[in-house]
C-alpha cells in the first residue's frame, strides 16, 4: 500500500500512537492562540529538530511539503496586499509548525498502529446495533478498490487510444462509471455469499 511513512526504528517510532496523537492535539491547542512570531519561529525550529533527529530520511520528508510552501507564499502575499504583512508572517510560521508536527506524527506511525489507536472510538457502534469491525473492513475495501478503479480507467483509455488515436476523452467517464459500479456490485455479492458482515458483530 502506498503510504507516507518513514521507515523506523527511531525514538518517534517507538512512542505509542495514542501518545503521539494526544501530544499533537495538545500542541495544536497550545499553538493556535499564539501571535508572537518569535515563539512561533522557535516552535518551527523545534519541529525541524524532530525531523533532523530522524536523519537523512527525515530531512528528505521535508521536501515533500513543497505544495504547502506555495500556499504559504500565497497567503503571505494576500496579507502583504492588505498591509498586514507581519500578521501574515506569524500565521505562516504557525501553519508551518502545526502542519509539520502533524505530518511528523503521520510519518512515524504505521497505519495499522494508527487504526488500533483509534479503534476504541468505534466501540459506541455496538450500542446502536452496529459492529466496531465494520469501519476496519471498509478501510480495507477502500485500499483495495482505489487501484482497481485506476486499472479499469487505464484499460478504457487504452481501448480508446486504439480506436481513435487520441489519448483520453470525457467520453470515457460513462463507461468507467458503469464498469466500476458493476464491479462493486460483484464485490458486495461475494461478501454476502461468504457470510456477509453480520458475522462481524461478535468478538475479534
Amino acid at each position: 500500500m502506498i503510504a507516507l511513512q518513514i521507515p523506523g526504528p527511531s525514538w518517534a517510532h517507538a512512542l505509542p500512537a495514542h501518545v503521539k496523537l494526544l501530544f499533537l492535539a495538545f500542541s495544536g491547542a497550545l499553538l493556535f492562540p499564539v501571535k508572537d512570531p518569535l515563539v512561533l519561529g522557535a516552535s518551527v525550529i523545534v519541529v525541524f529538530g524532530f525531523y533532523a533527529s530522524l536523519g537523512a530520511n527525515g530531512l528528505a520528508q521535508l521536501r515533500l511539503l513543497r505544495p504547502f510552501a506555495y500556499m504559504l507564499v500565497f497567503i503571505v502575499g494576500l496579507h502583504a496586499l492588505s498591509g498586514t504583512l507581519q500578521n501574515g508572517i506569524s500565521i505562516a510560521l504557525r501553519l508551518t509548525a502545526m502542519v509539520l508536527l502533524a505530518n511528523f506524527v503521520s510519518v512515524t506511525t504505521r497505519m495499522d498502529d494508527m487504526l488500533d489507536a483509534v479503534r476504541p472510538m468505534f466501540v459506541p457502534l455496538k450500542w446502536i446495533g452496529g459492529s466496531p469491525q465494520k469501519p476496519a473492513l471498509a478501510v480495507t475495501l477502500v485500499i483495495r478498490f482505489a487501484p482497481v478503479l485506476l486499472t479499469i480507467y487505464r484499460n478504457l483509455q487504452e481501448a480508446f487510444r486504439a480506436r481513435t488515436g487520441q489519448k483520453s476523452s470525457w467520453r470515457l467517464i460513462a463507461p468507467l462509471a458503469l464498469q466500476a459500479l458493476r464491479m462493486s456490485e460483484h464485490v458486495a455479492e461475494a461478501l454476502t455469499a461468504r457470510g456477509g458482515t453480520k458475522g462481524l458483530s461478535g468478538e475479534r
Binding site: M71, S82, M98, A102, N103, A138, L149, Y153, L181, T197
Partner: protein, 184 residues
Amino acid sequence: MSDRSLVQIAFYAALIAALGLLPPIAIPFLGGVPITAQSLGVMLAGVMLGPVRGALAVLLLLFLVALGAPLLSGGRGGLAVFAGPSVGFLIGWPVGAFVAGLIMQKTANYNVLVSAAFAAAIGGIGVIYAFGIPGLVVMTDLTFAKAAMGSAIYLPGDLVKVAIAAIVAQTVARGLPHALMSRA
C-alpha cells in the same frame, strides 16, 4: 447496514481517492488554473448514494487520510492536511455530500440530469465553499473578501465538475438504475 451499502460506501471513498490520483488538468481558457477531479468524487458520492451513505463515504476517505494514507490530490495525506489552511474545505466535504444526497432525494420527481446538476452545485460547491472560506479566514486571518477571492479561482473548474457529475448520474440512471441508490 447491509453488505451492499458498506461496499458502496467504500467504493465511493475509493473513487474520491482515485480521482485525486489523476493528474491535474490545467484548463487554458480558464486561466490555466490546475483543477483536480477530487471534489467530483465528493459530488458523486452524495448524488449517487444519498445523504447518509454519501456523507459516510466521504468521512471514510477522510478517516483513511487521517490514518496516514496519501489519498488527497497531489499525494497529500496524513494528519498534516487537517492542520493546514484548507481544512475548512475538508470539513465541508461530508456536509456537501449530505446536502447533495438530500437534494437528490427531495427532487426525486424531476429529471435525473437536472436534479443531479442542482444537487452537485448546491452540495458540491455552495456547501463546501460555505465551510472552506470561513475555514481559510480562521486558519490564515485573511479578510473574508480576500479568502473568497483566493478560492474563486477554483470555481470554473468546479462548474465543469458539476456538469460531469450530472452526466454520470444520468448515465448510471439509464444503464444501471439500481446503482443510483439515492433514488432507489
